[in-house]
Symmetry: C2
Subunit: 518 residues, 2 copies
């Protein structure tokens, strides 16, 4: 199996069907395939060798879809950049993975130039924007025009397909190595529910995220149509559902809430949209409430719901709460609050620290085995060995399983905060805080937030005689980590509660915060 | 990936759901799993080693379903016996594959005993019947009762899962080696269309056939329910659809015709059945006609159609004509007569003898590439190298592809006759005829037959001064090959039309027969 197989099949079966719609323009599969094979030719001509890493630093675009297939077609490996990261984080991921080529768009050409200037590994920067090509960069369209299509390298099977960087707990991201087989088996779980050849999927969430990329993989297998929005834009989501007859979409819970909020504020515009085509909304990170389902069914009359839980290391799907499990019965038995059950190609267990399975109803760590488990962390054999033991990926997520296999998340063993659908590891924020001149010690927790699900909150112990402000702390962090990882609120304490072995008792801090907030 | 993974998932998610229904009795997944793990324990206790072959010589039964999973659970390899074969053919397949254990039912205990007496490889015979255990055999239920459940051997991935014998062109069958990955990828294509966790599938066709076994694999992945009929029984098919609320079924075209015929003859019984649950009929081997679809829709109001084309060597799915492709538009554009397009996990090409792709509309040989292509033929490296070239399985079937990838079969390059849904290779029948004392030379062709699709017809050149009869020819063949492979009609000629290099011109013989029959 290989990621480009679906493109070959679509070229055979539907060359004149529309593959991609972006900013009012369409590309047929024949045109898409031609551009992919030419871009692959350009990458090879630039000296990109088998298995070398090629990054994309860009908002969503039709060119992003070309990048996704041209890289394996050329025999190379993907490294899609998290656009919310700081330059330091992007640079780290490039030099860590020895990325040799970066493609940048107009939005990230300056940030990209900074990274390129500092990177030890980058050999070429390709400008995939629509203005003048910046000094020292190659032009994307010129490369496509000047290079003949090459034959597919047929990179496949257990070959590395991409290095997908994910927020690390140790202050720097880890590169998750996923193979072609990893990604295609994970996609098969989605294809058993939706995203078939008749689907029209709206890429409304960032494409660098594995959640959206997994939908891209499934759609490539089935030959469905991609419709693309550059970035999250509430009005554009609704307009494109209406105009492009979108059938499938994936949205973070925060965006779902914001979307309904926008509709409340714009009743006339909303009434003008035809939202009857939307058949499937895939979501994750937090459960659907009965009220939310009712509101969405009111707005999208044909809608079904699918919850997926997983992580980059699982390519990413581990469990699914299926459309037929979003009923009143599932509200009453509370399984609507679960993350569903093991997907059709994986096994899930709740285990104790020694890897022994826990009895049903007893919390432990969620462990997953299957063809979707990553090859490992790039250049981190020890972290890999710690995560994957006896073939089981230890997710670090705490949960319990009921008597029919439904899994409920009870804690975040790795101390992760989910803010606006993004994972924030406390340790990373604490790491950034530790270099602030006034801060002696800190503990970062997630606190409930109406808009973001959770918000990053820092409890700070000052150095003797020092003071600081939220503004100063945020400014300090913003230089070191992505904006969404920076604390939104802080509090000061004399000391932090510690366990016998000197570990900060986060649980206690969360409890105290909850009591304080009533 | 491994074949027993789905059982583990069902044991976790639905232990108390009914997994199997057979002869009025049900087995929950917990009971099914327990019996599988005990039978696996018995096989290991009998000395069955990792990768050794275990045969099942039986009509369809609940025990057949246990065999399918206990063998991989024990770490061994399947060899399901074609029950229509002669003793000589079964014996050949056992000794060729070095099968060490055979399970027989009441129907095949005598034939099995004959094979066991002559086999060089068999070490044990297990009697899975309901009468007294024959001399020299072990009792299936006693083995299950006396052996504790063992842990799954987790045989997986590219490991050999089964040796599936298929009629050969050289007089003896060939063992097709399929891996766990082969079978599971092929099943994923079916799972994108049906056979989900809510399915109730009726095993109405023989389970030894890969067509039915592939449905078993898909259903095991999803956790759907198996309902079993011992052998083809028209009244039982309809009764069980009604009583068991069957949703999915696979039927050979001959059986579909016979079923409708039975209903015509039994209007009162038919009217008493509730046939509203049947959602999907999978078929193959010959196309659906508009009249047949209309009749079936009349009888089964919720029915959809799915055509699959493939072969044992392809685990078995290569192409699919999907439910949404069984419309009036597909009747009008004649694509209803195609075998559909490449399934979602495979690639199909039409090639010339040098492997070069033919232009659309030009006939050539159908070649298939994907994770479903067999590991090879057992002990036949040369035949394997001839069949699989550059990763492409050369099917031997002739066909052409239209401009949207639909494939039309135009000939059978390997000279195969399809009679009652069974493949009959002319060469095999000619081989049997060659030892008849009166026959100098023969050529076997398929001739149109209302009931069987095609019937086996032999054109015979007698030895000087000799005569023979249809009865004598049939009796001679029946000792050597399966009954359905024996000629149903014969004709005598002075000589056979030969090509320049001495090959019998079958095409000419078929033409002459057609003209003669008007």
């Amino acid at each position: 199996m290989y990621l480009t197989q679906g493109l070959h099949r679509s070229l055979q079966q539907r060359p004149n069907d529309i593959a991609v719609r972006f900013q009012g323009k369409g590309l047929t599969f024949a045109e898409y395939g031609e551009r992919v094979a030419r871009l692959a030719g350009a990458l090879r001509a630039l000296g990109v060798g088998a298995g070398e890493r090629v990054a994309m630093y860009s908002l969503n675009s039709a060119r992003y879809l070309e990048y996704f297939l041209a890289v394996p077609w050329a025999g190379a490996v993907l490294n899609p950049v998290n656009t919310r990261w700081s330059t330091a984080e992007v640079l780290y991921s490039f030099d860590d993975s020895e990325t040799v080529v970066m493609i940048v768009d107009d939005t990230f050409k300056e940030a990209g130039a900074k990274v390129a200037a500092a990177s030890r590994s980058l050999r070429h920067v390709i400008y995939a924007g629509d203005g003048d090509t910046p000094q020292g960069m190659l032009n994307y369209e010129t490369l496509i025009a000047e290079h003949a299509p090459v034959e597919d390298a047929y990179r496949q099977g257990d070959d590395l397909a991409g290095v997908f960087y994910t927020g690390g707990t140790t202050g720097f991201p880890k590169g998750v190595m996923l193979s072609h087989v990893n990604l295609l088996w994970s996609a098969s779980s989605s294809l058993m529910v939706g995203l078939g050849g008749d689907a029209r999927y709206l890429h409304a969430m960032p494409m660098f995220h594995l959640a959206d990329y997994a939908c891209f993989v499934a759609l490539t297998v089935s030959g469905g149509r991609h419709v693309v929005i550059p970035g999250v834009d509430l009005e554009a989501i609704l307009r494109l559902i209406s105009e492009e007859r979108i059938t499938d979409i994936m949205l973070a819970p925060t965006i779902i809430h914001m979307l309904l909020g926008w509709m409340d504020q714009h009743p006339d515009e909303t009434a003008a949209f035809d939202l009857s085509s939307l058949k499937m909304l895939t979501y994750g990170a937090s459960p659907m409430t009965p009220g939310l389902m009712a509101r969405l069914r009111d707005v999208f009359p044909a809608i079904s719901f699918m919850q997926a839980y997983g992580m980059t290391e699982l390519s990413p799907v581990a469990t699914q709460l299926l459309p037929q499990q979003h009923t009143q019965a599932f509200v009453e038995n509370r399984r609507i609050s679960s993350v569903g059950r093991a997907a059709p190609t994986v096994e899930v267990r709740i285990v104790d620290p020694e890897g022994r399975e826990m009895p049903r109803g007893t919390p432990g760590e969620i462990a997953v085995r299957g063809p979707n488990v990553m090859l490992g962390y790039w250049n981190k054999p020890e972290a890999t060995a710690e995560a994957i033991r006896n073939g089981w990926m230890h997710t670090g997520d705490g949960g319990y399983m009921d008597d029919e296999g439904y899994i409920f998340l009870v804690d975040r063993l790795k101390d992760m905060i989910i803010s606006g659908g993004e994972n924030v590891y406390s340790a990373e924020v604490e790491n950034a805080l530790s270099s602030h001149p006034a801060i002696a010690q800190s503990a970062v927790i997630g606190i409930p937030d109406e808009k973001w699900g959770e918000a990053v909150h820092a409890i700070i112990v000052l150095k003797p005689g020092q003071t600081t402000t939220l503004e100063s702390v945020q400014a300090h962090c913003r230089e070191r980590i992505a904006g969404y990882k920076c604390p939104r609120s802080i509090e000061f304490r004399e000391s932090l509660p510690l366990s016998g072995v000197g570990k900060v008792l986060k649980y206690q801090l969360r409890e105290e915060f909850r009591k304080k907030s009533g």
